[in-house]
């Protein structure tokens, strides 16, 4: 069997497997909305941990990320600290979000923020942020799938066919099985994604070993670095791209993906908050840390010894796949790339369709909708998002990558609002609203008009402006009600009500 036939057979089996999982998971008895929207609060440690990982890492992880390591070297590697940062951020907020969700019966993050801050505007802003995040991401994954199918098949499959095939399969299993189908397929896809990265590293080691003529892989790796000069191993002066302010702020913006609405929903679906310990330590900090700190430098930096010139940095992975892998390694890595796209699209589709169904349809159009009606609407929203993604990818093709990058910058904007719910009861509705609006404006301005001023990433500006405005406004405005704080902070801090009551009394005496 030639490589192309093997690729087609394995891809077909993989896609059929995804569809079968969708059909299997669709046979769920819905007695309350969370049975479908949150997989019955039953996602266990392996499924949830790998689903979270697979949703984070899109095909960019195998293509663009390795290429940028090749191109930029160790200043780029310095920002890998966003991986353990995500692990710690997840541990800080996931368990408490889970508890707040369960105690209050929240299904979507917009319900959590809208109810806690008693604000329809905040609820609507969260829906807008979720949609701004999901639609360009889904569009990018579908277009990317077309490109990858076309490239890996040596031009035998045209890009539109590839995009349609992946799109139809993703729609099918998310439509049928919702978050449960997305999570189970993501488990398998997470493993494929990791295998793809590991095989690329093994390939790089084998090539470096052959090139070294007995001096060793590390010595050959070192030769490739020395040939690049000092700019490859040192960060530039402050104010430039990839100087420390840029590294710091792009890492924080990237870690901010964990504060975006989709991950809040995933935390609500966990069967236990103990899962987040396993996810943070073993999956993110340890396994993904190893992938980033050990495998990626082998692939990217090692690639400098193997390939000195490329048309664009994305081509590094494709060059290694096409010219240096056996047919089976080729097929597994190719499936890893497709799995990465598939899992990212599925994760955002499942979560955002639920947000639209619950926070738009149920909240404003039909508040008396039965659980079955809500599920039907959630399924229809999957189609609406894909339709919007297709319209986006056709009508604003030139801006699609731009919008995808912008979506990342929006991620961290939710941080002050999340801290209000989980750690800082003094953050107020007015503070969060003003912070979110000013943060969004800062992101737009520092992306479209004055790109990365002072060498600080757009996401960093969004967070700085958002946080300052939020904390200043919060210190002069009305706190969330005691009842709300009792239903949230009261879960883990029994003394919080007393502290706030005493503080309020002191203020009224002073007044």
């Amino acid at each position: 069997m030639d490589t192309f036939t093997l690729l087609i057979v394995c891809t077909a089996l993989y896609l059929i497997g995804c569809a079968v999982i969708g059909i299997y998971t669709s046979r769920v008895k819905v007695t309350k909305p969370s049975d479908f929207f949150l997989a019955g609060h039953a996602l266990g440690p392996i499924v949830l941990s790998l689903a979270m990982m697979a949703t984070v890492f899109s095909a960019w992880f195998i293509l663009g990320h390795q290429g940028l390591t090749w191109q930029l070297g160790f200043p780029y590697i310095a920002h890998y600290a966003h991986i353990p940062l995500m692990a710690m951020l997840g541990l800080l907020i996931f368990g408490r979000q889970w508890a707040v969700g369960k105690r209050n019966g929240f299904i979507t993050p917009s319900e959590m923020y809208g109810t806690y801050y008693d604000s329809e505007l905040i609820r609507i802003l969260v829906v807008i942020i979720a949609a701004l995040y999901a639609i360009p991401y889904v569009a990018l994954q579908l277009r990317g799938a077309g490109y990858v199918f076309n490239t890996l098949s040596g031009g035998k499959i045209d890009p539109t066919t590839g995009a349609v095939v992946l799109g139809v399969v993703v729609i099918l299993y998310v439509f049928l099985g919702g978050l449960k189908a997305a999570a189970i397929t993501d488990t398998i896809q997470g493993i494929l994604l990791y295998l793809g990265g590991a095989l690329l590293a093994i390939t790089a080691v084998m090539i470096l070993s052959n090139m070294s003529q007995g001096s060793g892989v590390v010595a050959q790796w070192y030769k490739g670095i020395v040939a690049q000069g000092n700019s490859y191993i040192t960060i530039p002066e402050t104010g430039k791209i990839w100087s420390w302010p840029y590294i710091l702020t792009i890492a924080i913006a990237t870690a901010g993906i964990y504060t975006s609405p989709s991950y809040t929903m995933l935390t609500f679906a966990a069967s236990s908050p103990k899962i987040f310990k396993f996810q943070a330590f073993f999956i993110m900090a340890l396994a993904m840390g190893f992938m980033y700190y050990i495998f990626s430098p082998l692939i990217g930096v090692g690639g400098k010894s193997i390939i000195t010139k490329l048309a664009n940095s994305d081509a590094l992975t494709l060059e290694l796949i096409f010219n240096h892998m056996s047919p089976w390694m080729f097929v597994v890595t190719a499936l890893g790339i497709l799995a990465a796209m598939n899992s990212t699209a599925a994760g955002y589709l499942a979560n955002t369709s639920t947000i639209l169904a619950r926070d738009v349809y149920c909240r404003y159009i039909n508040p008396d909708a039965s659980p079955q009606r809500q599920v039907l609407m959630g399924r229809l929203m999957v189609l609406v998002i894909v339709l919007l993604a297709v319209i986006f990818s056709v009508s604003v093709l030139d801006y699609l990558v731009l919008l995808g990058t912008l979506a990342t910058a929006f991620g961290m904007l939710m941080l002050p609002a999340i801290l209000g719910v989980t750690y800082l009861p003094r953050i107020t509705r007015a503070g969060v609203t003003a912070g979110l609006i000013c943060g969004m404006i800062a992101v737009f301005l520092t992306y479209f008009y004055w790109r990365h001023p002072l060498g600080i990433h757009t996401g960093g500006w969004g967070l700085i402006v958002n946080s300052i405005v939020c904390f200043v406004v919060s210190s002069y405005t009305e706190k969330p009600s005691l009842e709300r704080i009792k239903q949230t902070h009261g879960i883990w801090d029994k003394a919080v009500i007393e502290k706030i009551t005493v503080s309020n009394k002191q203020k009224s005496i002073q007044a």
């Binding site: 920002h79 368990g95 019966g105 330590f281 340890l286 508040p367 989980t422 750690y423």
Partner: protein, 85 residues
């Protein structure tokens, strides 16, 4: 006021900010030298060292400290979109 973080565990937050300072912030400049330790650039050795430190911090946060320990046993609320504050 940080809710539910005992004073005895606040050291972790300081350690976390120090970790950010050295692994992503201006502390990176301490390792910004065009030099190698063995076959490895100083900046890479620095990054690896702070990855290992992050593993210790993550382990402590997840498995040793109490403020991220949330009980499984929480009464389930009603899933109603019409709830009012």
């Amino acid at each position: 006021m940080l809710s539910g973080v005992p004073k005895s565990e606040r050291w972790w937050l300081w350690a976390f900010f120090l970790w950010i300072f050295f692994s992503l912030g201006p502390g990176l400049l301490l390792a910004n030298k065009p030099a190698f330790i063995g076959y490895f650039p100083v900046l890479y050795v620095w990054s690896l060292a702070f990855w290992v430190i992050s593993l210790i911090l993550t382990y402590f946060l997840g498995y040793k400290l109490t403020f991220t320990n949330i009980s499984d046993d929480i009464e389930e609320g009603k899933e109603d979109v019409r709830r009012e504050a």
